[in-house]
Every structure is written in C-alpha cells, then in structure tokens.
Amino acid sequence: MEGAAEKTRPERSAADDAAFKRELVQLIPHLRAFARTLCGDPTAADDLAQDAMMKAWDARASFQMGTNMKAWTFMILRNQFYSEKRRSWRQSQLDQEAAERTLVAVDDPEAPVALDELRQGLAMLPAEQREALILVGAGGFAYEEAAEICGCAVGTVKSRVSRARRALHAILEDGAYDRDGASAGDAMRSILADAERLSTVR
C-alpha cells in the first residue's frame, strides 16, 4: 500500500499550495538579504531573490513540507546565482564593481562608519568564505545546513567560516580595506563600541 502511494505522486491540493505559499512569503525577507550579500547591487539582488522565489514556487511539488524550507530556498537562490554567473563570466566583474559601489553607499546617514567597513571587508573575502560566514554568522544556519546549501562537506564549511572570521578580523584591524584617508584602527574601534551598545540592548 505504502509503496504504491509513493509511486503515484499524490495530488497537490489547494491547501498544500496555500501552506507552501504562506511559508515562502515569510522567507522573502531572508532571501532578499542573502541575495544582497551575493550581488551587492540591491536591484540585481531583488531580481535574483525573485527568480529564486519563482523557482521554489515552480518546484513546490518536490518540496517536503515540514523540512527546512529556508535552507531549501537558500540553496535554490545560491544555485541560481552561480549558474547565472557561469553563463556570463563578464557579468561577475560587473557584479564586483556594482558591489563595491553599493558597499560604500549607506541608506541610513546615521549609520556608523563601521558598517561600511564591514561590508568592504566582506567584499575582500573569497566568495566561498564570505557565503559560509554569512550563512552561519548572520543567517542563523547550523554548519550542517550551510553545508547542504553550499553543496560541500560540513568540515569544509567549518574551516571556511573560521578562515573568514580570521581574515575579516585582520582586514578590519589593519584597515586593509580600500578607503582613502581613514585611519586603520577606526573601523575596529567603531565596531567594538557599537557591539557593546548592541549587546547591552540584547
């Protein structure tokens, strides 16, 4: 009985689609944030997030409700990003330029300088280290989930995250980021001061 039920795909009900859609809608802000870290340019990032959202919607029949939809959609988004990149390698250079431009632009004029430097520091990391650090350090994924999203071993994610942390620390410490005129230690001091403030709030 069970075997037969598995072979013939059960009909998707409208309720299934509605439940899927509800969950997907809740993930949109997270998809946008992840896309932003990959693309840099907010418009390109939203295009990527929309593509990923639609790919997820079209593939809804293959998703098992109750499993981790966030990790699943992040994997779709990431695959989409890299397949687009492969399609035109020149685009990646444009992406980089756009990223550098937007990394400098901050929407909130009140935002302290340090956020800028963190963005610039992130942009200097190798892509695989950056994404590992973002998934684990900002996206709230476990190493196992991040490994699934990136299609690599858990140990690989762990070492990427730890290398990324060390590199980022060194970049911020040395002021190795490309910023004319700013003194080296300022970024780190500002980050520390701000983190203290934030941690007392939490």
């Binding site: 949109i28 997270h30 919607w57 963190l118 980022l168």
Partner: protein, 62 residues
C-alpha cells in the same frame, strides 16, 4: 626577574586572546545587524504580485 617574565607573558597572551575573542564577537554582532537590516526592510510589492500571478495561473490550469 627571570621567574616573573613567563607569568607576565602569559598574562599578556591571555589578555590578547580575550581581546581577540571580544573582537570576533563584535564582528559577529555587526554581521547579523547587517543581514537583519535587509531582512527588516519592507518587501517590495513586486514579490507578492509575481507570486500571486503565478498562483492564479496554476489555479486556472487545474
């Protein structure tokens, strides 16, 4: 003098380690803040609009 040096160095090393840990934590807090900033942005209507249209197309076919 000779006996004091290792202790002083150890203390210095441990302080440096604490400092490094603190800095890593600070970067972590910042990183989350950077990500959450986008998460907390209002989602452009376009997203829901596209999804709604796709959903309607699906219902028509069915």
């Amino acid at each position: 003098m000779i006996e004091q040096r290792p202790t002083a160095e150890r203390r210095k090393a441990s302080a440096a380690l604490d400092e490094a840990r603190l800095r890593q934590q600070a970067i972590g807090v910042r990183l989350r803040q950077m990500f959450d900033e986008v998460v907390n942005e209002e989602v452009p209507d376009e997203f829901l609009e596209i999804l709604r249209r796709a959903d309607e197309r699906g219902s028509e076919k069915a």
